[in-house]
Each structure stands twice: as structure tokens, then as C-alpha cells.
């Protein structure tokens, strides 16, 4: 844990978070702190609780015990109305983009502006163009999501996530399933957004190359616990065999032994509330 952080620098503080789905313990006393303005990347294998952790930060899932504090506010204690207000701080991009497929690209990116901000049609139009330019897309406003490639859809998802100028950006596996060139482009866009917007960014991925490009700091989650956390260069040199196995993508190692015993249902799609 970065104990160098002064309290006022902490944007997100996760303490002793436990969550299980049925018999499967997904988060097993997770502890994590994210500094304001930092770009944190969380890596870990499939089914280690990455997405679940992210969904706790934004209150889509409620913990069994433990707390998630954002700017000192305990997320799990917020009521339905308060959480709506709370979520204005956030922009989140989902695994496959999660664009509304009955709406055009323009309508998708304008959606958070219409719901969260009081803006005139002209201002919205300008902001949509600006956000699409930020993710290097132009002239796609009138297209439907199904008419775009996977990489383009992700980037529209980013544009939608940043449209209302959130303080915190969450990226759920932004590059999974993309080719290396598109991955590099998407990574660049994320770095760019973090630099330019001065947001706090939390990205989860299992792509090591991406993780080192995007992150100011890389944290690894395994069996629902954060087992390591360090800036990229330092992280590469960590001696923990689990970290080394993950970085090098070895089939044999401590992670493989553990994951064999932990097969179970995948990440449930239904929130538990």
C-alpha cells in the first residue's frame, strides 16, 4: 500500500472489502487506496475479482462487509437518491463499450450530458464533438453502434464516460479482444485523457503491455486480495512469484495451482441489490 499518501490526497479508499456470490468468495478482505490524479491499473487473471471491485467503487454492487470511501464518503451507506448524486463524480467505460444500441453515437455521447447537466442543445452538440475528437473519432455522430468496429465502439464508450467531465474515470478491460495496434491506440487515448483532464483513473486489465503503458502505479489482485502494488518499473522487478508468473504469462506457477481450485460460476451479471 502506498503509505506515502497523505489523507487529503486519497481519492478512493477501500478497506477490508468482502463479497461473495453464493459459495464463491470473490473479494476476500481487499484493501486499496487510490490517490487523487493518479492512474492506477489493476491487473489479475479472469475471475479474480477485478470487475467486482470496480463495481463496488461506483456502487453498482454492495459489499458483504468492509467499506469503500470516495472523498471520505462511504459508498455502501448511500441511499438510492444519494447514490445518483454521488455517481456524477464518475465516468465509467464498460468491457464491450455498453453503448445503447438503439441510439446513434451522438445520442449515446449526449446521454450523460442530458441526464446530468443542464446544457442547451448547442452546448451539448459542441461537447459531443469535443469528446469524440478527444478519442480521435470524427464524423460518426449519426452512425449506430452496430456500424462501428469494436475498437471504435470502445472509444465511443470513453467519449461517453468523459462527456460530463467526471473527477474519476473507471475503465473495465478497455483493450480486451482488440488487436495490438488498436490496443496501443486505446492506451494512448487513456493516457491522454488522464493527463489532459487531471482525473483519477482506475483501469482494470489483464494485458500487461497496456498496464505498463497506462499506469502510474500497477496493482495486482489475486484471490480477491491486492498482493502487490508499485510503479510500473518497480513492479516488473518485484520478486513475488505470482507477479512474475503473471507478467511473463507462464502456464506453470503458483497462480495456476490456485486457480485450479477456484473454478466456479463467472462474474454474475445481475446486481445483488
Amino acid at each position: 500500500m502506498p503509505d506515502f499518501l497523505r489523507p487529503e490526497q486519497v481519492k478512493i479508499r477501500i478497506r477490508d472489502l468482502y463479497k461473495s456470490f453464493g459459495p464463491k468468495l470473490v473479494l476476500d478482505g481487499t484493501n486499496l487506496e487510490v490517490a487523487a490524479g493518479e492512474s492506477l491499473v489493476i491487473i489479475g487473471g479472469s475471475g479474480t475479482g477485478k470487475s467486482v471491485l470496480l463495481k463496488h467503487i461506483i456502487g453498482l454492487l454492495r459489499p458483504d462487509s468492509g467499506t469503500v470511501e470516495v472523498d471520505g464518503v462511504a459508498v455502501e451507506r448511500l441511499g438510492n437518491r444519494e447514490i445518483t448524486e454521488f455517481r456524477r463524480k464518475f465516468g465509467m467505460s464498460f468491457q464491450e463499450g455498453a453503448l445503447f444500441d438503439s441510439m446513434t453515437i451522438w445520442q449515446n455521447v449526449a446521454f450523460p450530458l442530458q441526464r446530468l447537466k443542464k446544457m442547451s442543445r448547442g452546448e451539448i452538440d459542441e461537447r459531443v464533438k469535443e469528446c469524440l475528437a478527444m478519442v480521435r473519432l470524427e464524423g460518426v455522430e449519426e452512425k449506430l453502434p452496430s456500424q462501428l468496429s469494436g475498437g471504435m465502439r470502445r472509444r465511443v464508450g470513453f467519449a461517453r464516460a468523459v462527456a460530463h467531465s467526471p473527477e474519476i474515470l473507471l475503465f473495465d478491460e478497455p483493450t480486451t479482444g482488440l488487436d495490438p495496434v488498436t490496443t496501443a491506440l486505446v492506451d494512448e487515448v487513456i493516457v491522454d485523457l488522464n493527463d489532459r483532464l487531471k482525473t483519477t483513473t482506475v483501469t482494470i486489465t489483464h494485458d500487461m503491455a497496456s498496464a505498463f503503458r497506462i499506469g502510474d502505479r500497477v496493482a495486482m489482485i489475486n484471490k480477491g486480495q491486492i498482493i502487490a502494488s508499485a510503479p510500473p518499473e518497480e513492479f516488473k522487478r518485484l520478486e513475488d512469484p505470482r507477479v512474475q508468473q503473471f507478467i511473463h504469462g507462464d502456464a506453470e506457477g503458483p497462480l495456476s495451482d490456485e486457480s485450479g481450485a477456484r473454478t466456479g460460476p463467472g462474474r454474475p451479471a445481475t446486481p445483488s441489490r
Binding site: 445518483t84 455517481r87 468491457q95 464491450e96 455498453a98 444500441d101 441526464r115
Partner: protein, 251 residues
């Protein structure tokens, strides 16, 4: 965790259903009112169902006339064919058959649509953007269906009675004037209204059930398939069962 038994999952589903109904009523009066979406759903559920509902009503009316002739002739009561056709259409057949047809068309579409939105995280995305998915997705669908099904039934009533008339007069040689007289002689407004109340209840049930099935989908494409099937099956059962109790209550 062991798999829930059929008995347990029945109560789980019921619990979710009533929870959803509660949320529908809680959210309905709150702004913003998405009138355009309501209208869009009314067109999709109601207007687009007109052909298939009217086709069903037409043939049902025609078959009823044939059946009534065969049966009533045995007791020398052919003159009551018109009454039999119109009363059974208005009170029972138009609401139930239209309900089942629309459940197959629109209820299944709701299950598939919301199910896809769930598994592709679009519903999570709505929540993240400070939009309650029940308010945004379910409320317009449910009220659109509740409004449109009675209107469809009004049309189905007319067309069904017309179908019976055509068969009786053209095919069986009944007297047009006395057939028409008989059709409306024993019918009062209560018969029509109770049929429309049934239709409204069926509309609410099927939309709420379709949305519920979609809303709680999990497990990718296969899950969406299950949700779609369940939307039709559960809605149809709900229509048939509630029809009995409504009939007992209303007549």
C-alpha cells in the same frame, strides 16, 4: 450454494415481480416524463400488433359462428348465434386471445431487449449515468402496453363480430337484420367494459413480466434466449390464470 428448488425459485420470481411492480408505481409519478418513449412503445406494442390481432379476431369470430350454428341448431336456437358470437368475443375471446398474441409479440421482445441490455452491461451503464433503469426502460413499456391492449381489444371486438356476421349471413344464410339485432340485444356496456378491464390488466402483467425476465437475465446469449422464452410462457400463464379470477370478480 445449492441450486434453488423449483418451489424456491417460484417464490424468488414472485418476490422479484412484486418488487418490480412496486418500483414501477414508485417511479411513474417522478419526472422527467419521457412522453416520446411512451409514444414510441405504444406504436411498437400497439399499432404494430394491429394486423395480427385483427386477423386473429376475424377468424375467431368466424369459427365461433360456425360452432354456434352447429351447437345451437341441436336445440333449435339458431337465432341466438349472433348473441353467442358477440358476447363470447367481447367478454372473453378478444381480451384473452389478443393478450396471448401480444404477449408473444411484444412481451417476448421486451424480454429479449432488456435481457440483451443486461448482459451487454447497458443497464449498468444507465445506472452509472444517474438513470434508474426501471424508470427509463420499464415504466414506458408497461404503461404503453396497459394503454394499448384495451384499444386493440376494442378493434378486435368489432372485427370478431363482423367475422361472425359474415359467416352467418353469407355462408349460413342468416337474416342480416335479425342477426345484427340478436348480436347486440343482450349485450350491455358492462360486458364491454369488463373485457377492456381484463385487457388492461393483461397488458400490465405481460409487460411487467417481460421486463422482469429481461431485467434479471444472466449468462450471455443463452440467458437472453431463456429470458425471451420465459417472458412468453410466464406471461401467457399469468394471463390465463388471472383471466379466471378476473372473470369471477367482474361478472
Amino acid at each position: 450454494m445449492k441450486m434453488p428448488t423449483a418451489f424456491e425459485s417460484f417464490f424468488l420470481e414472485m418476490g422479484r415481480f412484486f418488487q418490480l411492480v412496486g418500483r414501477i408505481f414508485a417511479w411513474t409519478p417522478r419526472p422527467p416524463y419521457d412522453v416520446r418513449e411512451l409514444f414510441r412503445q405504444m406504436v411498437k406494442v400497439g399499432f404494430n400488433s394491429i394486423p395480427v390481432v385483427l386477423l386473429t379476431a376475424m377468424f375467431t369470430g368466424m369459427v365461433m359462428a360456425l360452432q354456434m350454428f352447429t351447437v345451437l341448431r341441436r336445440i333449435n336456437a339458431e337465432s341466438f348465434v349472433g348473441s353467442g358470437v358477440s358476447l363470447s368475443m367481447v367478454r372473453e375471446l378478444a381480451p384473452v386471445l389478443s393478450g396471448l398474441i401480444v404477449a408473444g409479440r411484444a412481451g417476448s421482445a421486451m424480454g429479449a431487449e432488456l435481457g440483451t441490455m443486461r448482459v451487454t452491461e447497458q443497464i449498468d451503464a444507465l445506472e452509472v449515468m444517474a438513470t434508474d433503469p426501471v424508470h427509463y426502460l420499464v415504466v414506458p413499456r408497461v404503461w404503453a402496453t396497459t394503454i394499448m391492449l384495451p384499444l386493440l381489444v376494442v378493434m378486435a371486438n368489432g372485427v370478431g363480430i363482423l367475422g361472425g356476421y359474415l359467416v352467418a349471413v353469407v355462408l349460413m344464410g342468416a337474416n342480416p337484420v335479425s342477426y345484427t339485432d340478436r348480436s347486440f340485444q343482450f349485450m350491455d356496456l358492462n360486458d364491454v367494459f369488463s373485457g377492456l378491464i381484463k385487457a388492461a390488466v393483461f397488458g400490465f402483467l405481460m409487460a411487467a413480466i417481460g421486463c422482469q425476465q429481461g431485467f434479471y437475465t444472466s449468462g450471455g446469449a443463452e440467458g437472453v434466449g431463456r429470458a425471451t422464452t420465459a417472458a412468453v410462457v410466464v406471461a401467457s400463464i399469468a394471463i390465463l390464470v388471472s383471466d379466471f379470477f378476473l372473470t369471477r370478480l367482474l361478472f
